[in-house]
């Protein structure tokens, strides 16, 4: 949700507009669940954390000063609830180890010593708005590609590329360094890009 839309929604929420709350839930709820699943495989814990988050958000709206964006506030609350609940469930450590980025150079296996691509990079078909909306195979592929990501990469990708959060905010929400979140994001994007290549590569027409 763009910042200006966020601000307008916030004004309506503070005015206790029910339609605004419906829009808020529709925008955030599904992604909150996807995000929660990066912390825990336990569906009950994920749902409890989300319910708690909505309760805190609704009750806190009158006092929310807007020092952070609405989405940063919501995801910060959710991340904190998830940390509390997963600790309470007596896991040795949370399901998602957000501190893990192993310091390897990015994509070292894709480049020759002189910095050129080892293999040609193929052209993709150009995505159209119509295809974006209607291509069920594409939607399923994206969903599957994201589900296959390690939890730490998935969390960063969901917040950065789907929710539109900036790097510093994501680093704060997840309790990791900005450098770490950048590496995780890069790897996540590469994985999804490779999956999308299966349906996006331009097919050469031979007459």
């Amino acid at each position: 949700m763009a910042q200006r839309q966020d601000d307008h929604l916030l004004d309506r929420l503070r005015a206790r507009d029910e339609q605004a709350f419906c829009e808020l839930v529709h925008h955030y709820h599904s992604l909150m669940l996807a995000f929660a699943k990066t912390f825990t495989a336990n569906k009950n814990i994920a749902e409890e954390a989300i319910q708690d988050t909505w309760a805190i958000v609704v009750e806190g709206l009158p006092r929310f000063e807007g020092r952070s964006s609405l989405k940063t506030w919501i995801y910060s609350i959710l991340a904190n609830r998830l940390r509390s609940l997963t600790v309470r469930e007596a896991r040795a450590r949370p399901f998602a180890d957000f501190s893990a980025a192993d310091g390897q150079p990015m994509d070292a296996d894709k480049f020759a010593a002189d910095g050129h691509w080892l293999n040609p990079v193929q052209a993709w078909e150009q995505m159209t708005p119509e295809r974006l909306v209607s291509d069920r195979q594409l939607a399923a592929l994206v969903h599957e590609a994201i589900e296959k990501l390690p939890e730490n990469q998935r969390a960063v990708l969901l917040l950065r590329d789907v929710e539109g959060e900036d790097g510093p905010a994501v680093a704060t929400i997840l309790g990791i360094s900005e450098a770490n979140q950048r590496v995780l994001l890069h790897r996540a994007r590469q994985s999804v890009r490779q999956s999308l290549s299966l349906v996006m590569v331009k097919v050469e027409k031979h007459d």
């Binding site: 507009d17 789907v162 999308l196």
Partner: protein, 80 residues
């Protein structure tokens, strides 16, 4: 001038408008002569576009309705 590896490493900075003017120039100069990197940047941008579209996101209408119902007493229906 940038190598292909540099373009790969800095694509996210380009997308976030965080490249210095000099780096942006070097990257664009490289794209003029490197088809592989033009394809890569196009793939990179399209991947981001697809992700941010949310068309692939599966909504649970029942779960959303439950949340709305649970907290509806905090809000007021307004006539449109």
């Amino acid at each position: 001038m940038f190598s292909c590896r540099d373009v790969n490493d800095k694509a996210d900075l380009l997308a976030g408008h965080k490249l210095s003017p000099l780096d942006r120039l070097q990257l664009h100069l490289h794209l003029l002569i490197c088809r592989n990197c033009r394809h890569f940047i196009n793939q990179f941008e399209q991947t981001r576009q697809i992700l941010s579209s949310r068309q692939w996101l599966q909504h649970d209408a029942d779960a959303e309705a439950e949340i709305i119902k649970k907290f509806s007493h905090f809000f007021v229906k307004r006539d449109i």
